[in-house]
Amino acid sequence: MIVEDVLCPFCGCLCDDIKVEVEDGRIVGVKRACRLGSSKFMGHERISGPMVRRDGELTETTYDEAYDRAAQILKAAKRPLLYGWCSTVCETAKKGILLAEEVGGVIDSTATVCHGPSIIGIEEKGLAGSTLGQVKNRADLIVFWGANPAEAHPRHTMRYSSNSTGMFTPEGRGGRKVVVVDVRRTRTAKNADKFILIRPGTDYEVISALRMIVKGKGDLIPDTVAGIPKSDLEEVAGMMLAAKFGAVLIGLGLTHSRGRYKNVDNALSLVADLNGFTKFVVLAMRGHYNVAGFGQVCAWETGYPMAVDLARGAPYFNPGETAACDLLARKEADAMMVVAADPASNFPRATVEAMAEIPVIQVDPFPNPTTFLADVVIPTAVCGIEAEGTAYRMDGLSLRMKKVVDSGLPTDEEVVENILDRVRRLADDN
């Protein structure tokens, strides 16, 4: 049986045209997905069953005992941190926020180690955004800044941006100009009409120089900016001003480098400046397929998109203080629940050392280094393949993910709900 129009639960492109071949309840083939998506559909090693740590060893147990242990850990903690939520659906996030509220914890998503600074930049500056459909149908200039979709979002260029064909862009790549700014000549850079190689940590300066040229103050900038000849910057500014519809697509090159959210703020300001001359939009190349969805749910439930402290009776948001890495770095979190993420791999080593000193609950389909540190491990169905739910594409479009095969495992949402029920019962008992 072929299931059509399946959504890919991997990257923020959230491709919705995947064909999945199912035989005897198993996936045997995938069409149209890129290497990243196919690898997810075809499956990886799974966590074999629920486990709790006894005498230092993870030992198999029942789901009920795992839920009980998780609830006890969260209930006993003074500063629990509930982290992850991006490789799962919005329904899970909703329950997770309720749970964080119930235990007076902090809820944070993988955005804070990814495009968190973009969100802060957007809060500072505002966003001239658009859907990917507009980019596909209208953009005649695409600027990838610190973004490498060729490796991180492999179908982005064909489906939505530089190489796509749309209503007013019938010539596809031939009718568009592509600029890439990066610290190395990436695969994406090889597809560019103009590539600007910058030194790591100089994005802010380079953006500022472009803003000056765009605003007619080019004579004030020196012959080179961060090592880039002024003539190159003038050429890029010229391409931007000549565009009918430009799109700046920003990646982790901005958010992970010196300047972080200020880089994004400046990029958004450049786009705002350009809108004084022509039409320009800017989008963040969000990583996980539903990292944008967690931000939406969290924002409408608490008023903030990530790093929300629910210990005070009213939501409090101060990344740098309430983000997962900060809470761990200060050794403030005294228990951690990880849902659909792997902070043990993705956080700096010293932060992971802090994680190893506190009880950790893991809810995930797949084993990973977070499993090595966990005291309770609860395996779940893979969202978008074995469970349905809602996810948000990187541009904020919400789409319904399908269930393609049955795993018999509980969904992330069910697991969080079960733990929430037990936490509430523990509260009643006291």
Partner: protein
């Protein structure tokens, strides 16, 4: 004499890293992420060749990874794919915005005969501290 190269370390996504992202204990993930890419000239300057390993050291830690040439990298910039090997040398300061500096850490690189730790070994010294405290 050991040749030490000073460089800026950045981490980032790659296709191989992404394809094995949810299979972290697989040999594919190990192969894709326990590496350090260097520009051709930096690689040659280190006096290493073939399947050489390098020791990458920053003020936050050190890690052994296997060296690769990458013609897309400018001299003085090294690239380790996103993952636990890269994060072994990333600092935890978030600059007040929640996000560590995953790109732009000053590093020293030298050729080494030491072996690359596999993923279990990388976490071995952390395993028991959380333990049964729950």
């Amino acid at each position: 004499m050991v040749i030490i190269l000073k460089a800026i370390m950045i981490s980032g996504r790659t296709l191989g890293q992404g394809a094995s992202l949810e299979a972290k204990t697989s040999p594919e993930f190990f192969k894709a992420t326990s590496i350090c890419a260097l520009s051709e000239s930096d690689y040659d300057d280190l006096g290493i060749s073939g399947e050489a390993n390098v020791l990458v050291r920053t003020e936050f830690g050190e890690v052994v990874v296997s060296a690769r040439k990458d013609d897309g990298l400018p001299p003085g910039v090294i690239f380790i794919p996103m993952g636990p090997w890269a994060n072994a040398v990333v600092g935890m300061d978030t600059g007040g915005c929640g996000t560590p500096l995953f790109k732009g850490t000053e590093a020293e690189v030298e050729g080494t005969k030491m072996r690359v730790k596999d993923i279990q070994e990388l976490f071995a010294d952390l395993l028991r501290r959380g333990g049964d405290r729950s």
